[in-house]
Amino acid sequence: MHWGLFFEQAPFGGVQYYQWLLRGFAVTVELSVCAWVVAFLAGSVFGIMRTLPHRAFRAAGGFYVAVFRNIPLIAQFFVWYLVVPELLPGSLGRDLKAMDPEIQFFILAVACLGLFTGGRICEQVRSGIQAQSRGQLSAGLALGLTLPQCYRHVIMPNAYRIIMPPMTSEILNMIKNSAVASTIGVIDLSAQANRLLEYSARPYESFIAITLAYVTLNFTVMFLMRLLERKIRVPGSTGGRHV
């Protein structure tokens, strides 16, 4: 083992190898954060739609989940990379292709990973809403709140608290899934593993370092989510734990 490797000069860019690792780490974090915003919004909107009284909304929510959950993630990445730019209306597709490839791949990866994860969040949100007794909604309506007001002030605040633990594991899954973005050219952590291997010819050091970086990221998120969970728990509830 030769761990001094990471402080050796990389063959280009005038940086040391450890900076490749840090750059990959930053890309993975950026991609995960942006994709999470997309996933949370899409999952919330479609998840709420799946619980609405109007059949058309429910069908649209069901369609979204069925499409994004039943196609392999790598196939979805390829669709975003090769098909979607052709379908964009007007000059949007051309504008996208004219961008710096690094930014272009990043945007496509955020959309793909975000909507893919959104399909899973959607199901969590739906179960969080349905886990509450119907009396909550009835009471809200009886008090004169409109349906949107009921969702905004009564149902959603509790739904999000209920689904915190499964949401944490979805975030962790999403971080792991972000590695698939390397197949369409995003230079994230996993792509840096290949680059390190290729240029440094030090397979074990490269792969162990990258793997540890993922593990660190995972544990950090797990720790932060646990703090957040404790902070926003409904006072007096066990937060789903029975200890």
Partner: protein, 230 residues
């Protein structure tokens, strides 16, 4: 660019089917082997022997915090030389399929272990106590009383995990292994129909996975019904 020549599909159908066969091979092997090792891990996790519990927890948590892409790359770029020696293969053998199956098995074992552990956890303690009181040893109780119930309770989750695994096998693309997805992409590339072929592949995956998840849903309902009736 989206019109797909039906003749091309017809001509390439045998290659596509061959690719699907590889996809299914990996899926079935990883489901069977993964569930078997997952069961062992879950049992180790609830065993009274402390080091066994630790080892199982360490294995499961490690594999669950590494992306599948990284696991596949480990098993493709790093471990093959080791595997080749272990299985006594000549350096010329194509070990990509074995690498893929090993990687998926070891990865999925961690996920199956968690599902089966949850299944064991859902069984009331009285069941274990009753089995032990009847004079069974702990292994007997596990084999005859606890595991069958755990599998039954967790059947829908185990099957859903199988569907996820079926989708995940498309990731062997990065190993250059000609599974269904890789084959479809290659055919598209060589004939100038890449976007159409990717959509076609996505559609096939969708059809299979959607049908399978509907089946799992009806199984879930049947199990719930049975539980209510008993």
């Amino acid at each position: 660019m989206f019109d797909l020549d039906p003749l091309l599909l017809l001509q390439t159908a045998p290659i596509l089917l061959k690719g699907m066969l590889i996809t299914l091979k990996i899926t079935v092997a990883a489901v069977v082997l993964g569930m078997f090792s997952g069961t062992l891990l879950a049992v180790a996790r609830v065993s009274p022997i402390l080091p066994l519990r630790w080892l199982s927890a360490l294995y499961v948590n490690c594999f669950r915090s590494i992306p599948l892409v990284m696991v596949l790359m480990w098993f493709y770029l790093i471990v093959p030389q080791m595997l080749a020696r272990f299985f006594n293969l000549s350096p010329l053998t194509d070990i990509r399929l074995i690498s893929a199956i090993t990687a998926f098995t070891m990865f999925e074992a961690a996920y199956y272990a968690e599902i089966i552990r949850a299944g064991l956890g859902s069984i009331p303690r009285g069941q274990t106590q009753a089995a032990l009181a009847l004079g069974m040893t702990l292994p007997q109780a596990l084999r005859l009383v606890l595991l069958p119930q755990a599998f039954r309770a967790m059947a829908p989750l185990l099957l859903t995990q199988g569907i996820i695994l079926f989708q995940d096998t498309a990731l062997v693309y990065i190993l250059g292994l000609g599974d269904f997805f890789r084959t479809a992409v290659t055919i598209g590339k060589t004939n100038g129909y890449e976007p159409a072929m990717i959509l076609f592949a996505g559609l096939i995956y969708f059809g299979i996975c959607y049908a399978a998840s509907r089946l799992v849903d009806s199984l879930k309902r049947a199990l719930a019904e049975q539980k209510r009736a008993s």
